[in-house]
Amino acid sequence: MPIIVNLDVMMAKRKISLNDLSGKIGITPANLSILKTGKAKAIRFTTLDAICKELGCQPGDILEWIDDEKQHI
């Protein structure tokens, strides 16, 4: 998948655990884990808004696009 989710990087920078973040933004730890591990198929704007608000970052800090060919290299 060309879209990489760097949520774990931002969580480490802000020193917040998965359970704490999920409790603050109103998403279950299981769903947040799906997002963190890159298994999610889509993310709602409302979820992205809540994450960026809590972590004090931009969507581009969480989501990154990498070309498929470069990813395989």
């Binding site: 998403i27 769903n31 947040l32 799906i34 997002l35 999610a40 889509a42 993310i43 709602r44």
Partner: protein, 222 residues
Amino acid sequence: MKNIKFKSIISIALVCYIIFIASIFVDELEDMKVGFLQGKNAASRLINDEQGSDTFYISVAPKVSVLNFPETMENIKCNEEIKIRYYKMKVMQPIGLKLNLRNKIYRVICTFLAFVVYAVFVFIPFQFYGLMKTLQKEIFFDVKNKKRFINIGAALGIAYWAIFLANYLSFQISNSLFEFKDYVIIKEHTNVIWMLLSLVTLIIAEMISRGIKLREEQDLTI
């Protein structure tokens, strides 16, 4: 409340299905009686070395034109002869009219195909029951439901082709044994509704498959 509604639907569906199956048997009741009595008498005929009889079911069409009514019958209501035409016949022939090996094989195949169709009639309600159980749990886009619809569609398709093949083989048997002055023997028509139902069910299975993918995407949308 939901349980009562589900049980009501299942009961109604079951009653409708039983009526449908019973109506088929009622339509064919006379033929079943003939077959039963011939089979019952077969044993005593073997013992007493007697000639028995066999019944053939033949579909016919007029030789000359569709406007040809070659037979006559008395209408006792007004005491006059009226012209009639047969489109189906039940012919009783002595067993002395021996079947050759090919026709005997065809008859065995027809018997087997009849069992296939009966198996389909038994198989389909079980699939529907499983479907209704999952619907009660408000689960529709499920892999098991997709498989059930595929099974039902395949079973209906198999039933259609089994009936089609049985009709063709019966036609071959009748054509080799009989020839009539005013009629030509034709193959009995197989109701296309079986094939249409099969196709519709398979299309529903494909729709469920797409629904399953959408549901999985929805589940993985955070």
